[in-house]
Every structure is written in C-alpha cells, then in structure tokens.
C-alpha cells in the first residue's frame, strides 16, 4: 500500500483554511456582546466548548478506525486510530485547561470534584492509559488489537461525560447544545462566534491528524525496511 509520502493538498488546505477560520473566530469571539452575569470572562467558552466538541466527537472517529482495524487487520487503521486519539488528547487537554481557567473566577476554584469534571478526568485517564498500554506491548498485532479494544470501550465514557450534567444535577452548567432534545441553550447573538470556532478547530483537527498519520506511516516504513510492508 503506497500512499502519498508527502503532505497532500487536503492536508495543506485544511491547515491554512483552519488557521484563517481560527482568526475570524477569534475576532468574532472578542466582538460578541458581553454576558449579563459573567461579563468578559465568559469568552473562554469560545475555546472551551469547540475544543470539547471536536475532541469528544473525534473519539468516535477513533472508534470507527478501531473497528476497521479489528475487521480488516490493516496496520494503516491502527496508525490512524492512534493519530486521531493523540490529537483528540491535545484538544481535550485544551478543554481541561481552559475550563480550569474559567472555573477560577466563576466558581472560585480551579478544580472541584463535581460530576462533569470527574467524568471528564476519567475520560482523559482512559485515553492516557491507551498510550501507556501501547508503549507496554511489543508485539505490533497484539498492541493494535489491545488499543483498538480500549478505544472502543473507552468511548462509552464520552456519552457518560456528556450526560453527567443531567444525571448528577451538577454545578457545571448544562450542555450548550442538548442533543437529547435538540435545543440550544445559547444566546443567539453569541452563536456565530461559537460555530465558526467549532469549524476552525475541526479543520485544524483534520490537518493535524493527517500530518500525524503521515509521520506514523513514515516511521513504521522506516522500522520495517522490508519490501512487502503493509
């Protein structure tokens, strides 16, 4: 299987378009009207919610790659699942950090043991565990199978984290978009900025994953040094 060994047009396009959209998103975020109660602090939401969304949704993309790996057994799917989870972890960490910075002025603490934060921390630990397991298994096939299983089972935590604000009636505000009722709990005046930022992070996500996948492919091709790799 010889895929293009250089960055292709899609990667470059999504990277540049993503950066451009991010600029527009930042502009919209800072020109949106201030919130009635929180003033300007609330603007963190334009980073916090998009990164959470892209991070969490991408975990389902990783599930798709993991299922493909288990069904077809091609190393490419394993590499892509890993690339997706790696970038997702980056976005989820961004969510965590921005959330803590937001929590300090509004709740008075960086961290509190309430359900949304707890389930989110568990989610992060699952996917950090994913990489610990990968580094612990030498046999490439067993490593790929085990990590695929962790990715599939771990994704159960995504809906749990999402629903935690409802199930456990927590301190954290409810979902920005409630998927169970299809309602938006967001001020329409602030909505464009949020949507543009979601688009920007999605494009960047796509670019990062493609670059990471390319690197992983080169790495494994270098390790194999075998004429019939793949």
């Amino acid at each position: 299987m010889s895929q293009s060994k250089r960055m292709d047009i899609l990667t470059l396009a999504s990277l540049s378009l993503g950066l451009l959209t991010l600029g527009i998103g930042a502009f919209l975020a800072f020109t949106a009207p201030p919130a009635t109660e929180q003033g300007h602090v609330y603007r963190i939401i334009f980073l916090h919610v998009p990164s959470a969304w892209v991070g969490m949704v991408s975990l389902f993309v990783a599930v798709a790659y993991s299922i493909l790996y288990l069904a077809r057994g091609k190393a490419h799917y394993d590499r892509m699942a890993t690339a997706v989870i790696e970038v997702a972890l980056l976005f989820l960490s961004l969510t965590l950090i921005s959330g803590m910075l937001w929590g300090r002025p509004t709740w008075g603490v960086y961290w509190t043991w309430e359900p949304r934060l707890t389930t989110f921390a568990i989610l992060l630990v699952v996917y950090i565990g994913y990489f610990v397991v990968r580094s612990a298994i030498e046999d490439p096939e067993l490593r790929a199978k085990a990590s695929a299983a962790i990715s599939i089972l771990g994704a159960i935590n995504v809906p749990i984290t999402y629903m935690s604000v409802k199930w456990w009636r927590s301190l954290h505000q409810t979902q920005t978009f409630d998927l169970t009722t299809g309602r938006s709990n967001f001020d329409p005046a602030m909505l464009p900025a949020l949507l543009v930022n979601i688009l920007a992070l999605s494009l960047l996500f796509l670019a990062f994953v493609r670059i990471r996948g390319l690197l992983a492919e080169r790495e494994s091709a270098k390790q194999e040094l075998s004429p019939q790799a793949g």
């Binding site: 288990l70 707890t118 389930t119 568990i122 989610l123 630990v125 699952v126 565990g129 610990v132 397991v133 612990a136 298994i137 096939e141 067993l142 199978k145 085990a146 695929a148 299983a149 962790i150 599939i152 089972l153 771990g154 159960i156 935590n157 749990i160 199930w167």
Partner: protein, 247 residues
C-alpha cells in the same frame, strides 16, 4: 394442509431445534468452564485468599483512619465497600486467565470448534461468582466495622449484583486481552479502573441512597443506569473478545 404451510412449519421446526441445540451446548459449555475454573481456584486457593486478606487489611486501615466516630464511619461505608471491592476485583481479575496461562492451557480452549464468545461468558461467570462471594464477605465486614445498616439488605444485594456484573464484564475482558502479556498485573488495573469507574460511582450512589432510607423510586434510577452499563459492557465485550483473544 397446504404444501407451503407444511414446508414452512417444517423449516421453522428445524430452525428452532437447531437454534435450541446450539444455545443449549453453548450454555452447558459456559457452565462447565465456570465450574472447572471454580474447582481449580478452590484447589489452588492463592487468588481468593490473597484477595480476602487484602480486603481485611484495607478495611482495618480505613477504619483506623476514618474512625472512631460512628456517624462518620457510617457515612463512609458505601464508598469503602465499593472501593474495597474494586481493588479486590482487580486482584481477582488476573485469576480468570491466570489459570490458563500458568498451565499453558489457553490453546486447548481456543481449539474447541465454534466461535469464541462462550469462552468470555464462561470466564465472566467464574469471575462474577468469585466477586459476589468476596462482595458478600465484604458486605458483612463493612456492616460490622463501619456500621453499614443492613435494614435494606435486599436492595443492597440488588446493587451488589448489578455492580458486580458491570465490573466483572470489563475486568474479564481486559484480563483475556492481556492474558499472554508480560507485566499484565501492572497493566490490568491501569486499563480497568478508568472504564469501570462509572459503574463504581453509580453503585456507591445507589448504596448511599439505600442507607439513607430514600424511597426505592429514587434508588431505581441508579439501578436503571447500572443495568444500562451492564448491558452495554456485556454485549460490547462479548463481541470484541474473539478478536482480541486469538494469537
């Protein structure tokens, strides 16, 4: 009787019988595998004794740390119960496939014709029985040492069963996945705990509500959540198991 109807009924009967025979063999296989492992475990005794001893030590330390105020101990009891069970369960999880790895007999299980889901469910039944046995011991220990009221014993037992099924379904899966790996004892809790934490949290909440004497309607919400976890984990793990076990 018209031919088509007769033919249809015949085909249905054949299909029914084939399905029943198949389901019966699978159920007997699952049963015998669990029974065999229980017999072996009781003869070897290493895993079970270690788990119970570990629990006892843990309860003593926690009792000393949180006591001696009775009210505070009682408040902590549900958490203590489930945390202790989760840790003991991670000790026991290795036993599900430890027996096969020590004696190198996993291949013989894999050679048995047919798909391999039943191996998972057999091992799961074995794990579940161990976990429930340890859970019962633990329940009475926490009742004695932490003043956990047993007035709502049936409700607590329901929670114990629901929570144990969820826990064992994940722990058995990971134990099988890592069975042939060196250093599995260290890795197993690492991958196991994050996935089972939601089950543990729901079990703790249900136990706390029961202890506080809240109406069953509120507790049932948590039971429903636990049931959803159980069904999801049982199905997913059973489906994935044949893929991760081979090789």
């Amino acid at each position: 009787m018209p031919y088509a109807l007769r033919h249809g009924l015949f085909a249905f009967g054949v299909w029914r019988r084939a399905f029943d025979v198949h389901a019966m063999t699978l159920l007997t296989r699952i049963f015998w595998l669990a029974l065999r492992d229980l017999t072996l475990e009781l003869r070897g005794r290493t895993g079970l004794l270690a788990a119970v001893f570990f629990l006892f030590t843990m309860l003593l330390i926690l009792g000393l740390a949180l006591g001696p105020n009775q009210d505070e101990l009682r408040k902590a009891a549900p958490g203590v119960l489930w945390v202790a069970l989760a840790f003991a369960g991670s000790l026991l999880a290795g036993r599900a496939f430890g027996l096969e790895v020590e004696d190198n007999t996993l291949d013989d299980l894999l050679l048995i014709p047919g798909s391999r889901e039943w191996i998972y469910y057999g091992k799961l039944l074995f794990q579940l029985l161990l976990l429930l046995a340890v859970g019962l011991v633990l329940l009475f220990l926490t009742a004695g040492l932490f003043y956990l009221p047993l007035a709502t014993l049936p409700g607590i037992l329901v929670t114990l069963v629901l929570g144990s099924v969820g826990y064992a379904s994940v722990s058995t899966f990971y134990a099988g996945m890592l069975a042939r790996l060196r250093g599995r004892e260290a890795l197993l809790p690492l991958v196991l705990f994050p996935v089972v934490v939601p089950v543990i949290l729901a079990s703790v909440r249900a136990t706390t509500l029961l202890m506080e004497g809240l109406p069953l309607g509120e507790v049932a919400e948590w039971w429903r959540l636990l049931l959803v976890f159980d069904v999801i984990y049982l199905t997913l793990c059973g489906l994935l198991f044949p893929y991760v076990l081979e090789g």
